[in-house]
């Protein structure tokens, strides 16, 4: 992809399969450190699986993944997952209040999030402070997604994996989250890998783009490639999505 930036994550001939079904096939490429890379492609292309590989929730069948030049297998899984944060598409919550959910990452380490820090996180993601003691079952889909993002930020990850986090948000909330992620990227030099179905979002937010189809990476480069793809399948996909 880019030779300008050090890779935060590098895939080298990575395959992943479930039983006999091949989900990812020979993935090779890098996600540049401190940049926002979007992953686009049709449903079932293997994008979410690729994110789970980065976070160590699953392991490749073949090939190697390097996080900051160190093979992923050499990391302690807990250390790796705190360093590579992940906001899941379904924004799962533990039952209880918003505060209990925000406190979860620290509770797992035997620590506690102060109310002030929790309120700051809510403000960062554009949620009102009175939501802190609200039960999560009373939240809207968009509010849940924002709480999920805030919760991921508690570990202060160096790499942030986002799986379609704005798909259930209204336009105003979507813009707030985009602004928030850009701010985190700029302020902390956090590497962001963001799955999106919204090509306009990929163009506006992403520095780089991977286009995936049928478990393979078919085109990579600066996000502007989406305006004029070289690959004919990508071209068809872009036109299909745009139209």
């Amino acid at each position: 992809m880019s030779t300008q930036y050090k890779p935060a994550i590098h895939f080298q001939h990575v395959d992943y399969r479930i039983g006999d079904i091949e989900i990812l096939n020979d993935i090779t490429g890098s996600f540049p450190q401190g940049r926002i890379t979007t992953l686009v492609g049709p449903s079932g292309a293997g994008k979410s699986t690729l994110l789970k590989l980065c976070n160590g929730l699953i392991s490749p069948a073949n090939g190697e993944i390097f996080i900051k030049d160190k093979a992923i297998g050499e990391y302690d899984p807990v250390e790796l997952r705190r360093m590579v944060g992940m906001a899941l598409q379904s924004a799962p919550m533990i039952s209880g209040t918003v505060y209990e959910n925000l406190n979860l990452p620290l509770e797992l380490q035997g620590q506690q999030l102060s109310k002030e820090e929790a309120l700051e996180l809510l403000e960062d993601v554009g949620l009102k402070s009175d939501l802190l003691e609200r039960k999560v079952k009373e939240l809207s889909g968009g509010q849940r997604q924002k709480v999920s993002i805030a919760r991921t930020l508690v570990n202060k990850p160096e790499i942030l994996l986002m799986d379609e986090i704005t798909s259930s948000l209204d336009r105003a909330s979507k813009l707030e989250v985009e602004e928030l992620i850009s701010k985190i990227n700029r302020k902390y030099n956090t590497t962001i890998i963001w799955i999106t179905h919204n090509l306009q979002q990929a163009l506006e937010i992403g520095d780089y783009t991977w286009v995936m189809m049928d478990g393979q990476v078919v085109e990579t480069g600066e996000s502007s490639l989406l305006e004029d793809p070289h690959n004919s399948r990508v071209n068809e996909f872009v036109k299909g999505v745009v139209s």
Partner: protein, 249 residues
């Protein structure tokens, strides 16, 4: 009870058979098989118990208990097929519960170390432990499947497998213990326990029958708690690999 009176008890089998036939329930064959099996199994066990009691040999007592554990393990393991190595985990749980309860009973001289006490009490403990294992495994496999996203969430946030599965484990332990606790709350009010009723019918002093029943009830409470906790903590690690990844069945 005379053999004539015993044979008259088959009336209680005839009634449901007639109902099944009349209402086309299709349970006639199952009920007949169950009746024949219960007659053969109970008569056989009666003769075996008489032999073991008369011989007063520790080997025979141990063999009887081992047989109970093997049969209970075989029955319970079907419910936990999704959990790797479930057969030996259930067997270890049953052995642990049996050793613990008999150790306390005999160690504190609560009951004598004779076949007459060890075998029936072991039967109740192992039988109850088997049912608890089935209840626990049923609930635990459902909890793990239903809350897979929460397990992955905690792993993704840097939690350990034990933290990731904690809520599901606790929910399953609590759910499997509820029937034992609830039945203790209503004992004597709603139902008279089988063992106590049997003793009273056989002519025992009701107060003494109650004392033994209390012993059994308390014993079964320990059995319930130890079975579900022990089996739970033996089972959950096999749901994850060394990289702390949730293995999907």
């Amino acid at each position: 009870m005379s053999y004539w009176a015993l044979s008259l008890t088959l009336i209680f089998v005839l009634i449901p058979l007639v109902l099944s036939k009349t209402l086309n329930l299709g349970l006639g064959r199952d009920m007949t098989v169950a009746t024949v099996r219960s007659i053969i199994q109970l008569l056989a066990v009666g003769y075996v118990l008489k032999f073991v009691f008369d011989s007063e040999s520790l080997i025979y007592i141990l063999l009887m208990v081992a047989l109970m554990i093997v049969a209970a393990t075989h029955n319970a393991q079907k419910k936990g097929a999704a959990i790797q190595g479930i057969t030996w985990k259930i067997a270890v749980t049953l052995i642990f519960v049996e050793v613990l309860t008999q150790g306390i009973l005999i160690g504190f001289n609560i009951t004598p170390a004779t076949a007459q006490y060890i075998i029936p009490i072991s039967g109740m403990v192992i039988g109850n432990s088997m049912v608890l294992s089935i209840l626990f495994l049923n609930r635990f496999t459902a909890e793990v499947e239903d809350h897979q996203d929460q397990t992955e969430l905690i792993l993704a946030l840097g939690g350990t497998p034990k933290q990731a599965i904690h809520r599901q484990l606790i929910n399953s332990i609590k759910a499997s213990m509820i029937p034992t606790i609830e039945s203790q709350k209503t004992v004597g009010l709603v139902q008279l326990p089988g063992m106590m009723s049997g003793q009273i019918i056989a002519g025992a002093d009701p107060i003494q029958a109650v004392q033994f029943q209390l012993l059994i009830m308390f014993l079964l409470l320990t059995t319930a708690a130890v079975t579900s906790v022990f089996l739970g903590y033996l089972s959950y690690p096999t749901l994850f690999n060394k990289r702390m990844q949730l293995l999907k069945g």
